[in-house]
């Protein structure tokens, strides 16, 4: 006996939200993004170029702006590699070793996210400032940390250290240590195992963390503002420079600098989506 059966495998959407609900939810989300992201971005650019290309360019090439850009770059150049290294160490320790206080360490890594940046800055003032714990010793040895570049770098280091670690910990937990153990059993040294097995598996996640870390290092305002002292041409980073210029009614200079940070944000966003796409490709 032969029975022919036909089956259709199209999903039957039994529980579908009504059309009006879907449309209004999408509308709310889109208009929110337009209102709070796109409009300000356009405003920044239009203000920056309100007096033409010439004014924009001269605002950016002004020595104080150039020094702010330089300081921001230096800060990022120091903090991002250090925090990449720290993030790798922390993620490795947490996912590969068993030790007491491991969960405490995991929680502490998140601390900079839960503490207000202003407080983070204040901690450094209390430690290294003239009235701080190490203040006397530092001034006796003529070392300046607060109201100087080292303070800015320290504050930024503190603010940005969770990014890489937080990105890597879940990734390395998911990956497990079997492949590394296999490499070791095949005679590879620990270094070889790290560079040939671990790193290729976590590289997209690592890059993603570095990218976020970098964006924050360049954009941090609160903590840096407390320790910097706002000395023009010396201890102003880009975000601080924007505020100072704005307070002095130098709108073109302020928005021109802001456009650089905004541009950085856009580049970060694009790279971020590329990395996310790469990561999802990797996981298939």
């Amino acid at each position: 006996m032969h029975i022919a059966t036909t089956q259709t495998f199209t999903a039957q959407p039994t529980f579908r939200d009504p059309r009006w609900l879907r449309v209004s939810l999408i509308l709310i989300a889109v208009s929110f993004i337009v209102l709070f992201l796109c409009v300000p971005l356009i405003l920044v650019l239009s203000e920056a170029f309100s007096k033409g290309w010439q004014a924009y360019w001269s605002a950016l090439s002004e020595p104080d702006t150039v020094s702010a850009i330089k300081l921001t770059l230096i800060t990022a150049l120091v903090t991002v590699p250090l925090n990449t290294l720290f993030g790798l160490c922390a993620a490795w320790a947490i996912t590969r070793f068993e030790f007491k206080g491991k969960s405490l360490l995991t929680t502490l890594i998140d601390l900079p996210f839960s503490v207000s940046p202003v407080i983070s800055g204040l901690i450094f003032v209390l430690m290294f400032g003239a009235q701080g714990w190490f203040g006397e010793w530092l001034s006796a040895h003529d070392i300046k940390i607060i109201f100087a570049v080292p303070g800015i770098i320290l504050a930024t280091l503190f603010i940005t250290f969770p990014f890489v670690a937080r990105e890597l910990i879940p990734l390395m937990q998911e990956m497990g240590s079997e492949e590394e153990e296999a490499a070791l059993s095949l005679g590879a040294s620990s270094w070889t195992t790290f560079f040939k097995i671990t790193l290729p598996n976590i590289k997209w996640g690592l890059l993603y963390g570095v990218l976020l870390c970098n964006a924050r290092a360049m954009g941090e305002f609160g903590a840096v503002s407390v320790v910097s002292g706002h000395i023009r041409g010396l201890t102003n980073t880009l975000p601080l420079h924007i505020e100072v210029s704005y307070n002095e009614y130098d709108f073109v200079a302020s928005f021109a600098s802001a456009s650089i940070l905004a541009g950085l944000a856009i580049v970060t966003l694009i790279l971020k989506s590329v990395l996310e796409w790469k990561q999802s490709q990797n996981r298939v």
Binding site: E178, E179, E181, A182, A183, L184, S185, L186, G187, A188, S189, T192, K196, I197, P200, N201, V284
Partner: protein, 346 residues
């Protein structure tokens, strides 16, 4: 090479995973570490490999103490339950890895490596997959690649951690025999961990039974099956009926013709195939009936129970298909038992 373990101890916190393990494995054997989950067998394997450190004791390889040696210097091949293939490398690169990370003076040139890798891939019959990535392979193929990768560095000892555990039944059966034949070809001393007694009996030349961090028995499969040293081994290896002499169970033994005036222990273990069945002529002749039976392929398993018994105890017997047909039994028939052999334990 021969492996010698002496006084291996390992604790995880308060839990004692291994207690005073002494084990000698002669060269060229294929040994199964068999035991229920959590008995410490994987831990023992990882200690031999150097992936885990023992709290006390020594690991010797061919007479040389390697307890303090790092895993990368031990010259062992390790095969993981979940294959642990390098997912970002092709099959070829996976197998070549061990050769490419050798120190410069021992490292063969690329042409030699390629030749060797292809030879190994042919050995595991998968050379045609050399440019694929691990996620494009089936479970059985991955495990064979993992084996080829471990063999590439010519290990003195091959360690396999539940090598067939993640595979489906039919693939597992094929791979078991394949591993046994491969071992007969290569003669590398091998230890594999399993919780499946059938697998251990089928593949290994020697079986080590572990329970709760201790070695219960070591021997060739038939020795362990025919002469279990204690109740645990007897119950763990193959099916067995357990009779407590001091309880109601003694009636079973009496019916089966075992003289109980002088029992050799408190508990009698009887293999299902050591119970012989005959059809009773009348209901008065025996209180035991055939409750149910199952077809297991070449043999039939019979479930026997007693009428007018408070307990629902069921005794299993097993016999060849042919014999069962000749007996012409049906459910509910009264049967006579004859126990041919019992193992006594206290």
């Amino acid at each position: 090479m021969s492996i010698l373990l002496s006084n291996i101890n390992k604790k995880f916190g308060q839990f004692s995973a291994l207690q005073n393990i002494n084990l000698e494995i002669p060269e060229g054997e294929l040994v199964a570490l068999l035991g229920p989950s959590g008995c410490g067998k994987t831990t023992l394997l990882r200690i031999i490999a150097g992936l885990e450190g023992a709290d006390g004791g020594e690991v010797c390889l061919n007479g040389k103490d390697i307890t303090a040696q790092h895993v990368s210097n031990r010259g062992i091949g390790f095969v993981f339950q979940h294959y642990a293939l390098f997912r970002h490398m092709t099959v070829f690169d996976n197998v070549a890895f061990g050769l490419r990370v050798k120190p410069k003076k021992h490292r063969p040139d690329e042409a030699t490596i390629a030749k060797k890798v292809h030879a190994l891939l042919e050995l595991v019959q998968l050379d045609w997959l050399h440019d694929r990535f691990p996620d494009q392979l089936s479970g059985g193929q991955r495990q064979r690649i993992a084996l080829a990768r471990a063999l590439a560095v010519e290990p003195s000892v091959l360690l396999l951690d539940e090598p067939f555990g993640a595979l489906d039944a039919s693939v597992r059966k094929d791979l078991r025999l394949w591993l046994r034949h491969l071992h007969q070809e290569l003669h590398v001393t091998s230890i594999f961990v399993t919780h499946d007694q059938e697998e251990a009996m089928e593949v290994a030349s020697q079986v080590v039974v572990l329970n709760k961090g201790r070695i219960e028995q070591q021997g060739i499969p038939s020795e362990i099956y025919d002469h279990p040293v204690n109740a645990f081994v007897s119950k763990f290896i193959g099916q067995t009926n357990v009779f407590h002499v001091e309880k109601e169970d003694s009636q079973w033994l009496e019916h089966a013709g075992i003289v109980l005036d002088d029992p050799q222990g408190l508990i009698a273990h009887v293999r299902p195939h050591d119970i012989q069945i005959e059809k009773a002529q009348s209901a008065e002749q025996s209180p035991i009936i055939l409750k149910d039976w199952q077809h297991l392929g070449a043999t039939i398993r019979l479930e026997l129970s007693k009428i007018q018994s408070q307990s629902n105890a069921i005794v299993y017997a097993q016999m060849p298909n042919e014999q069962f047909k000749n007996l012409n039994l049906s459910k509910g028939d009264h049967v006579l038992l004859q126990i041919k052999q019992a193992h006594w334990f206290n």
